[in-house]
């Protein structure tokens, strides 16, 4: 052997095993060298690799391992000590590096593993987020559906459309198999299947309303899951299906009958309908919370829409009712107007037509009185006169009353002698009272003014009526009339709380009390006294006659004079007191009171004839002209007749003292004539007195006459007496305003 430092392998190199080892080592070395190369190559390629240092270490470790195995190749044959040294160094290095790497890996591998875990975690998270996204999208979509549904439901006010739309849209949105609406029947004891989604005309199933499941649904405002087997859910014929889940929700119904026009419906009387929704059978779908919420929202919207529809129906009904009422009221108003016009026409006709025959009767009877009559005949004629005067008064009363009711009556104010009025009344009543042996006394207070401003005629009418009643209803005893100025403390009477008189400087309240000791009135009859045409039932009063209008008219006159009238009585048989207060004006001291108004009753019979009095009569109608002429000729006048206005103007002269004109011909220019006559005679004492003859004493005629300067109006019928007194008044005073 040589002394080279060769080391001999243990085994001969030709051994087969050695050969295999030699090849394996070679390949191992190859692999060990290529692995790091690959690693570097791929790591370079990838951007993210956190552990480069580890890679380097690992690379070094592998390279060294490869080197070791490579060097091992030389050890299979005889090799020098250097090779062995290199080999050993290599191995040592390798050992060091591998241990270092191993140590390093202890740190590294958990990290690497945790990376993997995190990756898994993130993947899960991503999957979850995906799911949630899907959910949100679904919700948003259902929200959109709800809005659309609501819009659809609310876009119509027709009940059927609302319900049908609801079912259709719900079915579409939730992909339902069946959707049904059960409405309560009229009796409220059953639920009837009214609308379904799939079937066109649902057969009228009914289900009693007091089932526990239905109560459960009605008592909760949420959608409730119910069993598919309960009666309301058994809409589809049961087949081989595995029924899907069913949900029911209540729909509050605000029924028409719950709506009063003025009240809101009470919550306790709510009726509910039932909406049942079925998921498709044989699907694994379940009701999700958001779907239930959708259903509840829709149910509420439907309730609102239905209530709107109900309100609309109600308001249309109310409007129709109002229109009907309007029409009826309009008709009633027109009928009333027609009635009023008919009455006015009637009155206008009566005004004229009734007085014309009265003209004849009164004229005739008064003329008859002038002739030679036997006592029985005279009595008969007097009865006729009395009756016709009563009738005339009645006609005037009725006319007055109707004018009072119309409100068209106005007081004729003027200054008059108050004392004279009372004296007049006394004079008129004394004869009748003395016949009945009643004592009448009049007490006028010292502070009562002698002259007052008011409507003399109507005041006298009132006093006369009241005193007349007192006389009429007393069979014996006395009547006392007291008149005084009412002081302010006394003005307010506890019995008449509605009457608040307010005295002032130029007015005073005249209070008149008429006390009688007659039959009296029972307290329950007192309110009826002032009613038109009402009479107390007792036979005594019945026989006294009268139409019952008197007190009604008095009351209205008194009211027009801003006063108050009432009657007190302690009962039947105890007499009664009639009291009234009226407001009168106080005349100025400085003026002499004018006397433009003549009292209604002629105070004296003046001259019985007017010999030679020149009178001009203008009347278009020949016959009526002749009649008037006849009357005047009877009174001794010298009558000139004209039949037209031109003739009148031509003929009239200062010799004529009185001109009578008929002004009730329509369109005639009688007024014009009056104006012309006024113009013709500038001096008042030369001018004849112009008097209008007419059958119409309404305000218009009177105003026209006054306007053209006529001195008076005479209402036909004219009796001889009236004509006589008219002429005497005219000649005495040169003014008369109305002679009725």
């Amino acid at each position: 052997m040589d002394s080279c430092n060769c080391i001999e392998p243990q085994w001969p190199p030709d051994d087969l095993l050695m050969k295999y080892q030699y090849i394996s080592d070679f390949f191992i070395a190859l692999a060990y060298f290529s692995i790091p190369l690959e690693l570097i190559y791929f790591v370079k390629k990838s951007a993210v690799f956190p552990y480069r240092w580890v890679l380097v270490q690992f690379g070094a470790f592998i390279v060294l391992c490869g080197a070791t195995h490579l060097i091992n190749l030389w050890t299979f044959t005889m090799h020098t000590r250097t090779v062995a040294m290199v080999m050993t160094t290599a191995k040592v290095f390798t050992a060091v590096v591998s241990c270092a790497t191993a140590l390093m890996l202890v740190h590294i591998i958990p990290d690497l593993l945790s990376v993997k875990t995190r990756e898994l975690f993130l993947k899960n998270k991503a999957a979850e987020l995906d799911r949630e996204m899907g959910l949100i999208r679904t919700q948003e979509e259902t929200g959109r559906h709800v809005r659309m549904l609501t819009h659809e439901i609310r876009s119509t006010l027709d009940r059927h459309t609302i319900l049908k739309t609801t079912l259709v849209e719900l079915g579409r949105t939730l992909a339902l198999e069946e959707c049904a609406l059960w409405m309560p029947t009229r009796t409220g004891l059953e639920l009837q299947l009214s609308y379904t989604l799939r079937q066109q005309n649902p057969v009228g199933y009914t289900v009693p309303i007091h089932l526990p499941v239905i109560n459960q649904v009605f008592s909760s405002s949420h959608a409730v899951k119910i069993s598919p087997k309960c009666p309301v859910a058994r809409i589809r014929p049961a087949g081989k299906y595995m029924p899907g889940e069913v949900v029911a929700v209540r729909v509050p119904l605000l029924h028409l009958s719950n709506f009063q026009i003025n009240d809101w419906p009470e919550l306790s009387t709510k009726r509910y309908a039932l909406m049942v929704l079925m998921l498709p059978s044989d699907s694994a779908r379940q009701w999700h919370v958001h779907e239930l919420e959708l259903v509840e929202v829709v149910a509420d919207q439907v309730a609102v829409a239905l209530s709107h529809a109900a309100i609309l129906e109600e308001s249309m009904r109310a409007r129709d009712l109002l229109m009907e009422q309007n029409v009826a009221l309009d008709l009633a108003r027109r009928e009333a107007e027609t009635a009023i016009r008919a009455r006015n026409d009637f009155l206008a006709v009566m005004n004229h037509e009734m007085r014309t025959p009265m003209h004849a009767i009164i004229a005739l009877s008064s003329l008859l009185q002038e002739t030679e009559l036997t006592p029985e005949q005279r009595l008969m004629v007097e009865t006729i006169l009395k009756s016709s005067n009563l009738l005339s008064t009645l006609i005037n009363d009725v006319l007055d009353l109707s004018r009072l009711e119309d409100g068209s009556l106005q007081l004729d104010l003027g200054t008059f002698n108050l004392f004279a009025v009372f004296r007049e009344v006394l004079n008129l009543i004394k004869p009748i009272a003395s016949v009945k042996k009643l004592h009448v006394s009049l007490n006028l207070a010292p502070d009562l003014p002698e002259y007052a401003i008011g409507d003399e005629k109507r005041l006298m009418q009132t006093i006369l009526n009241v005193v007349g009643n007192a006389v009429k209803f007393s069979k014996e005893g006395s009547i006392s009339i007291t008149a005084f100025v009412a002081k302010s403390e006394l003005l307010r009477d506890s019995r008449t709380p509605e009457f608040f008189p307010v005295p002032s400087d130029n007015h005073f309240y005249l209070r008149v009390q008429v006390k009688d000791s007659g039959v009296g009135i029972s307290p329950q009859d007192i309110p009826k006294l002032f009613t038109k045409f009402a009479q107390t039932q007792s036979t005594a009063t019945r026989n006294s006659g009268g139409s019952g209008l008197g007190l009604a008219i008095c009351k209205r006159f008194v009211n027009l004079m801003e006063g108050h009238i009432w009657i007190e009585s302690e009962g039947l048989g105890k007499g009664c007191t009639a009291i009234f207060m009226v407001k009168l004006g106080i005349p100025e001291r400085s003026n002499e009171p004018k006397l433009p108004f003549m009292p209604k009753v002629p105070t004296n019979h003046g001259p019985t004839a007017f010999p030679g009095l020149k009178v001009l009569v203008m009347d278009e109608n020949g016959v009526s002209r002749m009649v008037t002429k006849g009357l005047l000729v009877r009174l001794g006048c010298d009558v000139t007749m004209v039949s037209s206005s031109e003739e009148c103007l031509r003929v009239v002269s200062h010799e004529h003292k009185v001109v009578f004109m008929d002004v009730c011909v329509p369109g005639m220019d009688g007024y014009e004539v009056a104006i012309r006559i006024n113009e013709k005679f500038t001096k008042r004492h030369e001018r004849p007195v112009i008097v209008a003859l007419t059958g119409n004493t309404d305000k218009v005629t009177k105003e026209n006459c006054m306007r053209v300067g006529m001195d008076g109006i005479i209402l036909k019928p004219v009796s001889l007496d009236k004509m006589r007194s008219v002429l005497s008044d005219l000649l005495e005073h040169r003014v008369l305003f109305e002679a009725i």
Binding site: P357, A360, N621, V623, S624, P666
Partner: protein, 154 residues
Amino acid sequence: MEVGQMQRRLVDYTKSLFMEGFLDAQFLQLQQLQDESNPDFVVEVVSLFFDDSEKLLNDLTMALDQPNVDFKKVDAHVHQLKGSSSSIGAQRVKNACIAFRSFCEEQNIDATLRCLQQVKQEYYLVKNKLETMLRVKQQIVAAGGSIPMIELGF
């Protein structure tokens, strides 16, 4: 025949006229206005009435014959006739005139023609009656009797 009988006949006849409504109380008033100073008052008034009415009726017939009836004029005529008849006491004529006027207001041609006929009819009737009565009165006066007073049996 003798005066008493004639007088009774007159009274009955006059009464019947009142009962049947041909005349009303206005006519009696006219009779009362007749006295010694005015002996023919009634006759004069009645004749005047006849003349007036004939003229008015002719005017009315002509007015209603026109193609365009002037209702105002017709109304004016009827008003006159109404006035005359009421002054004399011819009650039925007056009532017919009232109806006539209301149709005039309505401007109803057919109704007014009918009314005209009715007015004419009433007028001729009352004219007849009045002429008879006046004739009897004349006969009584000629025979020396006096016109009896009509008693009013109201």
